[in-house]
Subunit: 258 residues, 2 copies
């Protein structure tokens, strides 16, 4: 293995795109983008001023590192069809094991950024926790080095702990966004714009930038205010699913140790 | 009623304190702070360079406006004991009706800031939605004017819609914070610091500053990724409450119309 400079990116979705920009910013070169979807491959390759292919057999054999950044299912499928046995290969999934790649290459690893990525939002990669794992200490050391050139927060995390991080991220991101969604539905049904909630959402997140959430919990459930909770349950009368969520979360907040 | 300049603040908690600072910033004068708790009354009055009392009978009778900013229960109690029949009085609660104050004063109203307040964090009041309501058009007009001097977002909201806003705020703030808490428990149990989640939490909130949450929903539930959801449920085996939350929220996210 030589130092990673020329990189092939297998995938062209949100994670792949954001990784590509961060890699180029760290002085690396994406020499090729592979995707099953030609428009997507062409678009990302175009913005990186590099080549692309939609044919697995045409994947450039001269790169220093191969990054598979696809959905979990696609990563599983592709990994049975790739022939990169003597090339360093990593995937970027939070929930797939390192072992998934053991049939693909002698040097396999994981390069998992703990963040939510969107197509049209550039994120500051330097603050994103980058979790690395590899099947050899030499490869791990090289992945750590690469990660360190991209982010200030490099973590060595094995597959089991990475899966737990990914599970935590579902609560911190996906379920949180769903709470925003429900709140939005409630206000919009009452002729407010979603906008009315934005200062509250922003401040709620900002509070835990310094404190831990056990310190910032507020509201009727943590105060044990049965009257307000009863009033809210009444207001959700016609929406048994929201009532169920309200009841369950309030019950669990009531048990919080603060 | 004359223009509101001299204000008596009944209460000295987080909301009272933040309101006081915003009122002074808008050129108003808090002439007195009342609280049942002497330390708290003295502290807030001290920081405002004004007087305080812990005796309801000593409440200054010469102010232009009386703001009751207490817990819901305390507001209910106090309102039966106040004698301000010819003075304009408002409460600041999201969930109490305007009518609660009809026995207190001829001119009663509500002045509800839709935000989460902490003791040690100053918030930018100019961005906070201020919901006003009053039992007369004259008083309402004056409350709108006052609110407009403090914030750029003044909303005229009746008691029923205000209660719905407050319910939405429970989802957007209290339940969201509880999601942070669960995520924090999961990472800390696996020897990570809560810190590892902060960039994700921040970005999740930032995304909905421009888009609506139906556009920013990500994760296994919205993708219908049974494999990852199954893996997560296994990881929560020993925590039936968290499993219950995971199952319910994932099920409901699966029904989202995006």
């Amino acid at each position: 293995m030589q130092e990673f400079h020329d990189i092939v990116l297998i995938g062209s979705g949100n994670v792949a795109g954001q990784l590509a920009y961060a890699l180029e910013k760290a002085g690396k070169k994406i020499v090729q983008v592979y995707s099953r979807t030609e428009t997507s491959a062409r678009q990302l390759a175009g913005s990186l001023n590099t080549e692309y292919t939609i044919d697995l057999n045409q994947i450039c054999q001269k790169a220093d590192l191969y990054i598979i950044s696809l959905t979990d299912t696609a990563t599983g499928e592709i990994s049975t069809r790739l022939d990169l046995v003597d090339k360093p290969v990593v995937h970027t999934s939070g929930s797939l094991s390192l072992d998934l790649l053991c049939g693909v290459s002698i040097n396999h690893g994981v390069f998992y950024p703990l963040q939510t990525f969107s197509k049209n939002r550039k994120v500051n990669f330097r603050e994103i926790p980058l979790c690395v794992e590899a099947n050899s200490t030499v490869f791990l050391k090289m992945l750590r080095k690469l990660a360190g050139e991209m982010s200030e927060r490099v973590l060595e995390v094995d597959s089991e702990r990475r899966k737990m991080l990914h599970l935590a991220a579902v609560f911190a991101c996906n379920f949180t966004n769903f709470m925003y969604y429900i709140a939005g539905k409630i206000v919009e049904r009452n002729d407010f714009d979603f906008e009315v909630l934005r200062p509250l959402i922003e401040e709620t997140a900002k509070k835990v930038m310094k404190d831990k959430p056990q310190k910032t919990q507020t509201g009727p459930a943590i105060r044990g205010d049965q009257e307000v909770m009863g009033l809210h349950m009444d207001r959700l009368m016609n929406e048994p699913e929201l009532q169920e969520i309200y009841r369950l979360l309030s019950r669990e907040i009531g048990k919080m140790k603060i």
